[in-house]
Amino acid sequence: MRTMNFNEFFNNSILFFDGAMGTELQKNGLKKGELPENLNIHSPEIVARVHKSYLDAGCNIISTNTFGANSLKFHNVNEIVTKAVEITKNAIAESGKEAFVALDMGPLGKLLKPYGDLEFQTAYDLYKEQVIAGANAGADLILIETMGDLYEIKASVLAAKENTDLPVLVSMIFDEKGILLTGADIKTAIITLEGLDVDGIGMNCGLGPDQMLELLKEMQKYSSTPIFVQPNAGLPVSINGVTTYNVTPEEFANKQLQILRNGACALGGCCGTTPDHIKAMIDLCKNQQITKISKKQITAVTSYSKTVIFQDKPIIIGERINPTGKKMLKEALRNKDMDYIYREGVTQADAGADVLDVNVGLPEIDEPTMMQNTVLGLQSILNTPLQIDTSDAVAMEKALRIYNGKPMVNSVNGKEKVMDEVFPLVKKYGGVLVCLTLDENGIPETTEGRIDIAKRIIAKAEEYGITKENLVFDPLCMTVSTNKDNAKITLECIEKLTNVLGVKTVLGVSNVSFGLPNRELLNSAFFTLAMQRGLSAGIINPKSDAMMNAYYSYCALQGLDDNFEQYIANVTDTKSEIKTTDVDLKTAVVKGLKNQAKEQTKLELQTKTPIEIIDGILVPALNEVGKGFEENTIFLPSLLMSAETAGASFEIIKEYMVNSGAKSEEKGKILIATVEGDIHDIGKNIVKVLLENYGFSVIDMGKDITPEAIVERAEKENIKLVGLSALMTTTVPSMERTIRLLKAKNSQIAVMVGGAVLTEDYAKTIGADFYGKDAMASVRIAEKFFAK
């Protein structure tokens, strides 16, 4: 069958995969506790026997015995994979039958960051090694199976596509609700995988045919890619510690027939299925007609666990992570104050953003690196899909590569050069692309001119294999202050794009009012008009009441808000924020009342200097709470609420100082980290919050940080006090090593340590200068240290 094109075959005939491998190998002589992949080297005849039994059953695709053949488990991956492909090819040749060789790759057995400790690039490299060995040995396709994490799937698919031209099939393991281990549902998984342009999408393992039939129906709603189904022989039953599966070959065959009739294009089996199961299935199904899968034409973006579909209800894209005109964000970007950026993300998501725009372009920073770190950081805390917004192709590719899901991409336009740069990236990594209706000659003044550019973009995208549903058009809005017809032209464009070209639209709404007073008034009215004309998505500030009121009102009036749920929730929200001014700033901090503290800080700033507020009100308030904590009358959550409240107040003061150009006084700079090998950072984060709110400048390196990295950073930043945290006895040695290295480099440097397993004495024996029994103690240490 070597002359036969796999994809052609897959799209026109029923493909029959084999069944369980591990248990069949055991029946044929694999010893308990032995890794199955080793058989390829020392007992190839056992593997060949299993392949033969499946070929005899009638399979036309045979998976190699390479499920776990990666460098985390084996030192000789190339040899194992090469042998495995050879064994499979020989078995097929000897059988005289026609079948494809599928290079089988399973999960690596370690979770990727941010859940676990495996780097995306490391995962990619591990798969790359298998892919290259398999392709060189002559595999016909790559089968990535039993996958439970979308991010790991992305690493494996990229490894397969970048290093071979072979077709790539991906099969996932869902639970009975249709959810992957790291949280993606079926819809999210399919949309993301189609973005990566895989040749087949399937499910295997975990469930029996009954459960998979239900999940298949859900897959059918979203997939335009052929679907394959490889169930277990029912759900596992444990009898005296031995796992067994109860579905008989006949039952299995009947159920798989049903699955085929419900739209699957290929069938196979997983745990508990034998050559008998597979033979019964093939005998029953081989003469059936295959139903071709239909094209779904869905415009959708995803994160690792959430999908946003462009339908009747407009999408809110949060515009706040974009430095244009935002002094505080610029400052945060320059200082690499990632938490500030992440907070902008969280507050927008909480305010109702469906997607977050991410633009971190500033001339003086390394945009590709900052873009990558911002995307990684936001995705570690939020499941809101992101819009990667950059004109730097390097930054765009870096972000697209590590993004977990199918993002929005902002943007392409009618310029040939830009299209040639951006389209290949979107084709490769997947994404919904924002298309600006401008070209080499600028923005056309007429509706027709902009529509013409849109048509050209659609045609060119098609040449690159990007379909219309993955393009969203921004007809651009110029301010009405320069031409009274500007808003009208844009609205006309939205209508034409929607009704004539049949595409989705997006708009940066707030440009319309540039140069005029009370801009929110115009912006929100324009937003309503645009939605009425068909706008699919607005790039707006979701923290603006005026904009969100316009949005919720529009949705309520258009029947897009079931039971007025969002509308009512929004109204209630506004009510609860009624400001009380009867609490002074000190009381607000002591009681942890954030909103009041912010208001009071603004009032205080009218009469006092920042220093007067900090030293005269905030620090005494914190001290009062800190004392209560030390005396066991106040406990951690209340202490933290006060610290956070002081932090909110500091934020207002800082904003005031940034805007007025004043320099803040620094009490001292402290570097903190959780030591290598330790992934617990809650204690460390608490220390950080307190130190910062006492006015210290804190460089937080995060968790699991090597001694070398800490030493390097301490030297670079000229640090005098380092705080280290370790929770486990097993990681204290790494803390000790860090202290030793720090002291060797600079004998003047002081180190304070803390963490559940440490004591005053223990801290001394590992060479620390100070021991902080809790977060408050670290503040006292720092105060004493810098007072010297």
């Binding site: 979770l111 975990g206 444990s238």
Partner: protein
């Protein structure tokens, strides 16, 4: 399975001691944390019953030794042993990470309420286990406690498919992710 949390237990994790009670405000925040956790967790548990043999200072399960005299004593009357694992899934960790950039108090509260919820998951699961595996069940005994070195987690993971079935993985230092996860041995005395 609807998970609950124990306010007193969560408060204890937060550091409340000497009989101090969390304020009404903190209790409300615990409720908020609980409701948010309920939306993002994906609780799962697995188990496998094994025969075991005793040594002088520990036990052997399927050729793998677990050294701890406390574990040995704990299993004094037991005939078989259940290896048990339960997790809230990755969602709880993501929620903690989210709060760690916006709200330190809530970070701590979500963390502690989550810890109490995984204990509740274990309690409920262990009750269910009593219906499937007959006999008198001992309380859970976890690697990393009672003199059983944390490195025994690696062997534990070989005997129970924590990674494949629940997505729980071990770091080089034998820490589990997702972090709201429990592994335990449960002795069973057959009638």
């Amino acid at each position: 399975m609807l998970l609950k949390y124990d306010l007193h237990e969560a408060a204890r994790y937060m550091g409340y001691k000497h009989g101090a009670e969390p304020s009404e405000e903190i209790c409300e925040l615990c409720e908020v944390a609980y409701n948010e956790l309920c939306k993002v967790i994906t609780p799962k548990y697995i188990y496998k019953e094994y025969e075991f043999t005793r040594t002088n200072d520990g036990i052997i399960i399927d050729g793998t030794e677990f050294k701890s005299t406390k574990l040995l004593n704990h299993l004094k009357d037991s005939n078989t042993i259940i290896l048990f694992g339960a997790t809230l899934g990755v969602g709880a960790d993501t929620l903690v990470r989210k709060y760690s950039v916006t709200d330190a108090a809530m970070t701590s509260i979500v963390h502690c309420v989550g810890a109490s919820m995984v204990e509740n998951l274990c309690d409920q699961a262990c009750e269910e286990l009593k219906n499937t595996i007959k006999g008198d069940h001992k309380y859970r005994f976890s690697p990393g406690y009672g003199g059983l070195d944390i490195s025994s987690q690696a062997d534990f993971f070989k005997l129970l498919p924590m990674t494949k079935q629940m997505g729980v993985t071990l770091s080089e230092n034998f820490l589990m992710t997702p972090t709201k996860t429990v592994t335990a041995f449960i002795g069973v005395t057959k009638e």
